[in-house]
């Protein structure tokens, strides 16, 4: 169901303006209550005992001594929480506490609730766990080569969790028509979200059987479902409140052990129980960027037109499924939405390894392939002697088109983005013209404005809003969306304020509370502005229609002449004639009773219906282009980035200042991934995290952060509220390949791997000096026993979005996320 679309105009009083966020004062005064800021009388403290082994069978757990410690009120083990859970219906492979097997260092095995944190910590030392160690698997390549012991007893084979093989048109025929074919192998290292707030949760269980959980989660709806499943409580007796998140970036999107454990401990003890993870434990929760090995073969004509692309990815998933099936699809989904790819083949594999589970980090599965494609295009441009910006501009996907893999592209501002960064950076004067050690590189990207399909299969809206208009003139918006710092609470207020003509700071916003607010699926996949925004728009327009009807009667004018602005409701033809907004509500309330409306949003149906077609579709795609300027010291290999120019097609800014903040923050996080951020593992087995701390996990400080020159491109999309598309994730994607391409421009070596550390640059420079291939990066992609491909002819070859006969091989359970109809 599509909402009525609003186009922004210069008449808008709220939309597009750089306003403060509705919670800005709370944030700058320290008044915002994050999960760990909450405390309840008689509250107990929870600590989790975590596995010291990467892979082991639990043969015995003795909790007797821990239970005897004064102050300890309860001890739980896996037996107390036997029901499995997981974010995706196809990967219900986690337990709140491991019942029999641990799968990574940090996997939780027992939990204590005690009267103080010190007592709870002391009690952990008194729990005796006997382990029988199993062989551990450290990398995806090792997992491919080592089918046993299996880390999980599901998946297509051995330690492979997921295999995908999709072919859109005959790529061999496409390659045969190419003037140049390149094959490149690249690697993208894993990284983690590193939110400044450590995850925390507080549970309360009252004698009437009601469970309340406050948590730093991006997805209260999914936590609600997981709690009902694992605790076997009626969902209606569970209330999940997502506190404002102190940073999320995807790292608080799964239902977590610690949330389930404190809920169970509250049920067992009858007292409130809180857990706050240590920074070390946050590293174990992880769910970050999958380390991904990629092989990409692209054929092009002399003018750079792509004739076919074949892309292979191998993801290191860590110990559990998490969002991994979706992540794997995402490594193949969005290659087609920037430049026209007439024939496309994607093979993706995810492996289980004995490391903390990977999942969705900002960009979810798409930064890795974007890095590969944009670096390869830079190499192709050089071989064809075409300027890399020009090459991209020539072959852009047209707006309002459908791609080879059946993604519907609406507004498409990438051309304008490229033009802006090329002009702004002085690209034409700099590219291949700067002195050695200095370089510029360009890359582009695209991202979803929300996933077209829900995580679990259902036909209900993805976002709902309720609106209450009070006779005082007050308006309250209720929505399940969760503010993780991106400003989603403010977006609701701005949109409602625009429609009802009231001050956005007069609007009360109630969000992220499963008792009070209609479901919104959560703050992930850059979905919230578009989806909750459309729901809010619909609710506000319905309220405006009711109020207009009664104001029109009073003013004795037709309904359509009623205007809402500046806190008044008045006659468009005689603006002096009107009533205050509060008076308009009173007129309506007197006539109709309590004034409340609802709005909801469901994304449009995607044209693809093959299995796997559910990952990739979005109501709208954002576009970004970036130019990075780098300085490379050939003696040390150190790469400095003074400036990044970035242009982002946001469709329409709802609040320009928060859009700017998202762009700059994305560039920052991309710079970290480009230069330094990595989940590094140590020890003989390479499965023990290398000192899980903020000091050892390098992230950019003020001293490493570059200057950012930002251009906002507004190419309104008909599916977005007022034309708005996403901004929270897309601008991260071009940064890593732009930096890599700039390093090549600076010193003539290719580092086909991120992070681009000094060691890698130096190794490549040494090879160059010796006359070898001036490159650092992986050289081979392992043999994988792929299933038969699903063959889906592209739209321009008569395809209808379905697989043709002779398609796929093995059958697997279908997931909500994978299914289209």
């Amino acid at each position: 169901m599509a909402t009525r679309k609003k186009k922004a105009t210069s008449e808008h009083r709220v939309i597009g303006k750089a306003l403060r966020k509705v919670d800005a004062v709370a944030k700058v005064t320290g008044a915002t209550k994050f999960a760990d800021d909450l405390a309840l009388p008689r509250m107990l403290y929870c600590k989790l005992l975590r596995s010291p082994h990467p892979h082991a069978r639990i043969t015995a757990i003795d909790t007797t001594k821990a239970r005897q410690l004064p102050g300890v009120k309860a001890v739980l083990t896996g037996q107390d929480l036997p029901i499995a859970f997981g974010i995706l219906p196809v990967s219900q492979d986690e337990h709140a506490l491991c019942p029999d097997t641990v799968r990574f260092v940090g996997d939780p095995v027992a939990a204590v609730a005690a009267t103080s944190e010190e007592t709870a910590t002391a009690a952990l030392d008194l729990i005796a766990v006997t382990y029988e160690p199993l062989a551990a698997i450290a990398s995806a390549e090792q997992a491919v080569a080592t089918p046993t012991p299996r880390i999980h007893d599901y998946g297509p084979a051995g330690n492979l969790h997921k295999l995908i093989n999709l072919e859109f048109g005959d790529v061999d025929e496409g390659f045969a028509a190419a003037d140049l074919i390149r094959e490149d192998t690249l690697f993208f290292e894993g990284s983690t979200h590193l939110p400044m707030e450590q995850h925390a949760a507080l549970a309360q269980y009252t004698a009437d059987g009601k469970l309340t959980l406050w948590s730093s989660t991006q997805t209260p709806h999914y936590v609600h479902r997981a709690l009902a499943r694992v605790l076997e409580l009626p969902a209606a007796k569970i209330r999940v409140i997502a506190c404002p998140n102190g940073g999320g970036f995807g790292g608080k999107s799964d239902p977590f052990s610690h949330e389930i454990v404190v809920a169970k401990l509250a049920m067992v003890t009858g007292r409130p129980v809180k857990v706050t993870l240590t920074r070390e434990e946050v590293f174990y929760c992880h769910r970050g960027r999958h380390p991904t090995l990629m092989w990409v073969k692209t054929g092009v004509k002399k003018d750079g037109a792509i004739t076919a692309m074949h892309f292979k990815s191998l993801l290191d998933g860590g110990g559990y499924g998490s969002y991994g099936v979706a992540s794997t699809y995402y490594t193949g989904a969005l290659q087609t939405v920037t430049y026209h790819v007439p024939r496309y083949k994607f093979q993706g594999a995810r492996a289980f390894t004995n490391k903390p589970p990977c999942g969705p980090k900002r960009g979810h599965g798409t930064p890795q392939p974007r890095f590969a494609v944009e670096v390869q295009l830079d190499k192709i441009a050089e071989q064809l002697k075409i300027d890399p910006a020009e090459l991209r501009l020539r072959h852009l996907v047209p707006p309002n088109s459908v791609t080879a893999n059946y993604l519907r592209v609406g507004s498409m501002g990438l051309g304008a983005c490229i033009a802006k960064v090329v002009a702004g950076s002085g690209w034409k004067q700099k590219f291949r013209r700067l002195p050695t050690g200095q370089g510029v590189g360009l890359a582009c990207s695209s991202y979803l404005s929300g996933a077209g399909l829900p995580i679990y299969w259902n036909n209900m809206p993805h976002s709902g809003v309720q609106l209450k208009c009070d006779r005082s003139g007050g308006v309250t918006v209720f929505c399940g969306s969760t503010d993780i710092g991106q400003g989603s609470d403010s977006i609701l207020a701005y949109i409602v304020a625009e429609v009802l003509g009231v001050d956005p700071f007069h609007i009360a916003v109630v969000t992220a509370d499963t008792d009070l607010t209609p479901v919104d699926l959560g703050s992930y996949s850059s979905r919230v502005t578009l989806m909750s925004g459309n729901a809010a728009l619909q609710a506000a327009e319905r309220a405006r229609d009711i109020l207009a009807r009664h104001a029109a009667k009073k003013l004795e004018i037709p309904d359509e002449r009623v205007v809402f602005a500046d806190g008044r409701v008045f006659d468009a033809q005689d603006p002096g004639r009107g009533v205050a907004f509060a008076a308009a509500v009173q007129l309506a309330e007197a006539a109709e009773g309590t004034i409340g409306t609802v709005g909801s949003y469901t994304p449009p149906r995607s044209p693809g219906s093959y299995r796997g077609a559910g990952v990739g579709p979005s109501p709208a795609y954002s576009y970004s282009a970036a130019v990075a300027h780098v300085e490379v010291d050939p003696e040390t290999g150190i790469v400095r980035v003074p400036t990044i120019w970035i242009a982002h097609d946001v469709g329409r800014s709802i609040n320009a200042a928060t859009v700017m903040g998202q762009v700059e923050g994305s560039v920052y996080m991309g710079l970290g991934e480009a230069l330094m951020e990595e989940m590094a593992y140590r020890g003989d087995l390479k499965v023990m995290h290398k000192i899980p701390s903020l000091l050892e996990y390098k992230s950019p400080t003020t001293l490493e952060m570059c200057d950012v020159v930002t251009y906002l491109i507004e190419d309104p999309d008909p599916n977005g509220p007022f034309g708005a598309k996403e901004v929270g994730q897309g601008p991260l994607l071009p940064v890593m390949p732009a930096v890599a391409n700039a390093v090549y421009d600076a010193v003539g070596v290719r580092v086909d791997e991120v992070p681009i550390t000094p060691e890698k640059v130096l190794k490549a420079l040494k090879r160059k000096a010796k006359g070898e291939e001036p490159r650092y990066g992986p050289t081979a992609f392992p043999e994988i026993d792929w299933p038969e491909p699903s063959r889906v002819p592209p739209p321009w070859e008569g395809g209808d979005g379905k697989e043709v006969e002779g398609g796929r091989g093995r059958s697997q359970a279908t997931t909500g996320a994978e299914r289209q109809h």
Binding site: V25, V28, L194, T710
Partner: protein
């Protein structure tokens, strides 16, 4: 222990092993001071002791006997925000807001010593504080805006910081 907390005398009793961070958050209920690691790595727990930024997770509460401690709760002048708070709100320098109290206090100490800091001096002064949301840029701009206003200038945010470059 008696000390000066946000300009008022404060008497508090606590277990001797507690850090200033724990005393503030747990014994005094001032949860505006946050924590990101409790190991002195992230700067998120920064407060001012006698006007100097310190990591409250590394300072024993008892070490603050007789000292002046300032937290984010003490920045505003009654209902009026401190110019730094106002500028952070205006520019969106607080996204998730978790590191914000620490940045505000570190910036306040900087501006007390240097009312007209250059961009590089701001970067140096804030180098011990991590922020994962903003890329620091809106924070620099907010510090510069507040500094100008505190010097009595009628400063406004640059159009390109709020709306991007033309």
């Amino acid at each position: 222990m008696r000390f000066d907390l946000n300009g008022e005398p404060c008497d508090v009793t606590f277990a001797a092993h507690k850090t200033l961070l724990e005393v503030l958050r747990e014994d005094l209920g001032l949860t505006g001071t946050k924590h990101g690691c409790e190991l002195g790595e992230c700067g998120t727990c920064t407060v001012l002791v006698d006007g100097t930024p310190v990591l409250s997770c590394l300072v024993l509460g008892l070490a603050c006997e007789g000292r002046r401690v300032k937290t984010v709760e003490g920045m505003a002048d009654g209902p009026r925000l401190h110019p730094l708070q106002d500028a952070f709100a205006e520019l969106g320098a607080a996204q998730c807001g978790y590191c914000t109290p620490a940045f505000l206090l570190a910036a306040e100490a900087l501006l007390a010593a240097n009312p007209r800091p250059a961009r590089d001096e701001i970067k140096q002064a804030l180098a011990g504080n991590l922020c994962r949301c903003t890329g620091y840029i809106k924070i620099y701009e907010a510090v510069e805006l507040a500094a100008a206003r505190m010097r009595g200038e009628d400063a406004k945010p640059a159009t390109e910081s709020l709306y991007g470059h033309p």
